[in-house]
């Protein structure tokens, strides 16, 4: 008996603690505090899933607790004991059925969600999307704005209420581009141009990071996203145009060297830099042996240790 009360107390304490933790966290968890339609839909999807899971989990836990309590091996226990009762097709049909139904519902939701929230799908809007080209480097982010012909490192400015079309690649090991409050992540991979459509509905400063481990200074690959009004965005572009240095080819190659970086701004970037970065790794691409001396030469050599 002592054992059981102890157990119950522990469970209650643990449950209380967890609820408190979760409640304290929920109020400001990034994923549950969306600032754009993609993140909002993903949040709804997560909440629906949690609900479906709880529909199964709570009864199962209650049933487990009940059975464990009711059928303890005690001389005074009056509950039925049927040591050979091990088959009941109706009952088994029920618990093959329940998960099948729940999973079927979830599968429908998921398949629809997969198409609706496909990252390469454009967001419907009366405004033309703003294109931002993202390159993951060791260990910093380069953002190019081809329309504005400016570039930044480790920080983004975007206008609110205008869809952003991110085109993403890497000139380094794979990473993943993630702004939790605007929407889910997508890998940045060399030799490929990925697409991710996001939109910010509220002005504000949002946290972004590289989510996929990429080596030594991976933890430094965070960036800020400033969502501002269209006018402020234009003013910001003007200011960079007027006061920032240009990004040259040499400048880019220096930037691409392994190392961390401050936030930087550039008033221009080499023509087709993004396309060249993408194609340089494409199969059989000649660029592989041109642009990036430091990397390609070491890779060609056989393995040796001294």
């Amino acid at each position: 008996m002592r054992f059981n009360t102890w157990r119950t107390k522990l469970k209650l304490t643990a449950a209380g603690l967890m609820t408190a933790l979760l409640l304290s966290g929920c109020s400001n968890m990034m994923v549950f505090d969306p600032k754009g339609p993609i993140a909002a839909e993903q949040k709804d999807l997560i909440l629906i899933t949690i609900l479906l899971c709880l529909i199964i989990m709570i009864p199962v836990f209650a049933l487990t607790a009940f059975i464990i309590f009711r059928y303890r091996d005690k001389p005074t226990n009056k509950a039925a004991y049927k040591p050979n009762w091990a088959q009941n097709h109706l009952l088994e049909a029920v618990w093959w059925g329940i998960p099948i139904v729940i999973i079927a519902i979830l599968a429908v939701i998921t398949v629809r969600g997969s198409y609706e929230l496909e990252p390469s799908k454009a967001i419907e809007s009366d405004k033309e999307p703003l294109v931002v080209q993202v390159t993951a480097l060791d260990w910093k982010w380069l953002f190019q704005y081809p329309e504005q012909n400016i570039a930044t490192v480790n920080h983004l400015y975007i206008p609110v209420d205008r869809p952003i079309r991110f085109e993403l690649t890497a000139d380094a090991p794979m990473n993943s581009f993630w702004i939790p409050q605007l929407g889910g992540q997508i890998y940045t991979m060399s030799g490929m141009a990925m697409k991710l459509h996001l939109l910010a509905e509220e002005p504000g400063t949002y946290f972004g990071s590289g989510a996929n481990f990429s080596g030594k200074h991976f933890a430094d690959m965070t960036f800020t996203v400033n969502a501002v009004s269209e006018e402020e965005f234009e003013a910001w572009v003007q200011q960079i145009d007027a006061s920032s240095p240009e990004l040259t080819i040499e400048g880019y190659e220096a930037l691409a060297q392994p190392g961390t970086s401050e936030t930087l701004t550039f008033s221009s970037f080499p023509e087709n830099l993004f396309e060249r970065t993408v194609t340089k790794y494409a199969a059989g691409g000649h660029g592989a042996h041109g642009g990036h001396q430091a990397h390609s030469s070491s890779a060609a050599e056989p393995h040796s240790h001294h």
Partner: protein, 657 residues
């Protein structure tokens, strides 16, 4: 002189006080063990009784011993990481050191802790459960163990020699390729896993054959204990999955050693191919380790509810369907690779489907307890811990399978919390249930209940304190594998709580070590061989089992045959047992070849890692030489004479009486 210095500092990891401390500790431990063995003249004993043994029970014990040592090392890695993350901006570990530690933590826990603990239980229990005298290929079994052992040694030695791998437990290229990772750490990774992986594959084959061919007469497949069924499903998964791992790592090795371009950035290499391949093995792998846990739970629940397992046929069907379905879900590990909605939707649905048979198993366990009589011994406590933890972990798994939502979970601490919940709550808790359940069968005495309950509660409380905050952290944007974070992220309180939980689990492990040491000293001997009032054949023979397991091979007529026999005996329905008729027992002879051959594999691997032809060529020759030597050894078996069986049985009966 200077070049010697440089060479030495390239070879040994130098300059880190923590690693220097470990180097000294390792040297002292090795010397101490050597001294004790010499002083007590135990070298011969070690060689004859253990190193050369082909007895599945002893091999199993060695597996479990190694896995507990590896649990210790992997656990220390975990505590170092949690210490580093307890506060923002900590400088306890630097980035490079942290990267190495999370890599070795993952590799060790999966390859060198979970796998050997699983193989240990396979070895000790399966032959006893199906009424066999050994596994199908005892020599191969010993070879599997020693390959695992030397593979694990090769991996672990990188800690003090050459430097640890640092590209994550699955070593995604290009990060693990030569271009971004020129050191030897990744080579240790490849060779350590390759060598032990061959052992895993052979164990898979061995147990499939054992289960299919060596069951006692009358034990139809559908009368086999559920643990043996789970071993069969796990081993079938092994033989299809492990070759993929071997080939994938071999291609990575070619890239690193011979400049091929399978997974490099340039020259037409495709790192995404590696990610696909490694998860084609990696996802089945998690089912390989969790299926036997399902088997253990089934056996333990039935025994301690004093009731037949509910829905036997469903359970078998569920095991097998999980094992097949596990091969069709791999892409859910990278929904964010941009494969498009078609691919993502397909893999999301296949992943969810696995929840159905898994859910059915939970219900069947609950209804095994229903109308039973539940005894809360240590194994049963672990089953209860398992059910709560694993159900919740499975639910978060279903959440992750929703592809468009996974874009927000992927690579975050939400994912970390989920897979630790299924791997600790499912695999570790399940195996602990088996460990406590079968310990008396292995050693003939019970583990202390009181200390075991302390360990149980500390593990469980520690688990939730450690990992529940991580779900929240993940939803708050904290990504995995970062070695530090800023104060203004607002993550530190939950990280601090999580660290406390990790240390509680560390404390729980110490309680288990204490429990084992205490129980060895104050042995509560089990003289019955059937301490839990068991249901299956392993409980029908004395504990520990004699070398030949069964003096007379039993004939089986029912599921839970031993339980039925006991029932019939109690009801007096069983005719008086005639005096058993013994026949000489055919047994395999011990052999030193597996140990020696695996050691040559180690030399081969170590030489390959350093590109030392003078070492890997002799290693390779040694391996081939051992194969030839074995092919021409004909003196590989012997018979235990009837007289000796009679004496052994009488001696054990004497204890029993």
């Amino acid at each position: 002189m200077e070049t010697i210095d440089t060479n030495v500092s390239n070879f040994f990891v130098t300059g880190d006080p923590m690693i220097l401390g470990s180097q000294v500790a390792i040297a002292i431990t090795v010397l101490a063990i050597g001294f004790v063995l010499t002083y007590f003249k135990k070298w011969g004993w070690l060689w004859k009784e253990w190193i050369t043994t082909v007895d599945h029970k002893r091999i199993g014990i060695m597996y479990i011993l190694c896995s507990l040592l590896m649990l210790f090392r992997g656990g220390v890695d975990a505590l170092l990481m949690r210490t580093q993350l307890a506060f923002p901006g900590m400088e306890f570990l630097n980035a490079e050191h942290y990267n190495e530690i999370f890599t070795t933590h993952g590799v060790i826990m999966i390859f060198f802790m979970a796998m050997p603990l699983m193989f240990g239980l396979f070895n000790i229990i399966v032959p006893l459960q199906i009424g066999a005298r050994d596994v199908a290929f005892p020599f191969l079994n010993s070879l599997s163990f020693w390959l695992f052992f030397w593979g694990a040694m090769l991996f672990n030695v990188s800690f003090v020699i050459g430097g640890s791998p640092n590209a994550g437990w699955l070593a995604y290229p290009p990060l693990s390729g030569l271009q971004f990772n020129p050191g030897v750490g990744q080579d240790f990774y490849i060779w350590g896993i390759q060598i032990s992986g061959i052992g895993s594959l052979m164990t898979g084959i061995n147990f499939i054959v054992t289960i299919l061919k060596m069951r006692a007469p009358g034990m139809k497949l559908m009368k086999m204990p559920m643990f043996s069924w789970s071993v069969l499903s796990s081993c079938l998964t092994i033989i299809f999955a492990f070759p993929i791992l071997t080939i994938t790592l071999f291609l990575l090795f070619l890239d690193r050693q011979y400049g091929t371009h399978f997974f490099t950035l340039d020259g037409g290499g495709n790192p995404m191919m590696y990610i696909n391949l490694i998860w084609m093995w990696g996802h089945p792998e998690v089912y390989i380790v969790v299926l036997p846990a399902f088997g253990i739970i089934s056996d333990v629940v039935a025994t301690f509810s004093k009731k037949k397992l509910f829905g036997y046929t469903s359970m078998v069907f569920a095991l097998m369907s999980i094992s097949i379905a596990s091969f069709f879900t791999w892409a859910h590990h990278f929904f964010t690779m941009g494969s498009g909605a078609d691919v993502n939707a397909f893999f999301a649905v296949t992943t969810m489907i696995i929840a159905i048979p898994t859910g059915v198993k939970i219900f069947n366990w609950l209804f095994t307890m229903f109308r039973g009589r539940i005894r809360f011994t240590l194994p049963m406590l672990w089953v209860c811990g398992f059910i709560f933890c694993f159900v919740a972990g499975g639910m978060t798994g279903v959440m992750l399978s929703v592809a468009p939502a996974d874009f927000q979970f992927h690579n975050s601490y939400f994912l970390i919390a989920h897979f630790h919940q299924t791997l600790i709550g499912g695999v570790v808790f399940g195996y602990f249930a088996g460990f406590y359940y079968w310990w008396p069968k292995m050693f003939g005495f019970k583990l202390n209940e009181r200390l075991g309950k302390w360990a149980f509660w500390l593990w469980n409380i520690g688990f939730y304190v450690c990992f529940m905050p991580q779900y929240v952290l993940g939803l708050d944007g904290m990504t995995r594998r970062i070695h530090t974070y800023d104060f203004d992220m607002g993550w530190w309180e939950l990280n601090f709580v999580s660290t406390i939980g990790a240390f509680l689990m560390g404390l729980a492990f110490l309680f288990q070590v204490w429990q084992i040491a205490y129980s060895i000293k104050h042995q509560e001997k089990d003289t019955t061989g059937d301490i839990w009032d068991g249901r299956t054949l392993e409980w029908s023979i004395p504990s520990p089992a004699p070398a030949y397991n069964f003096a007379v091979i039993p004939t089986v007529s029912e599921t839970d045959d031993w339980w039925e026999t006991k029932q019939k005996r109690a009801e007096g329905k069983l005719a008086a047992q005639p005096e058993p008729v013994y026949e000489p027992i055919h047994m395999p002879k011990n052999s030193g070849i597996p140990f020696v051959k695996s050691f040559f594999w180690f030399l081969l691997g170590f030489g390959m890692v350093w590109d030392w032809t003078f070492m890997w060529v002799p290693g390779l020759i040694g391996v081939i030489g051992c194969m030839i030597a074995r092919s021409f050894s004909y003196d590989t078996d012997y018979y235990i004479p009837v007289e000796e069986i009679r004496r052994t049985e009488a001696a054990m009966k004497g204890v029993t009486a």
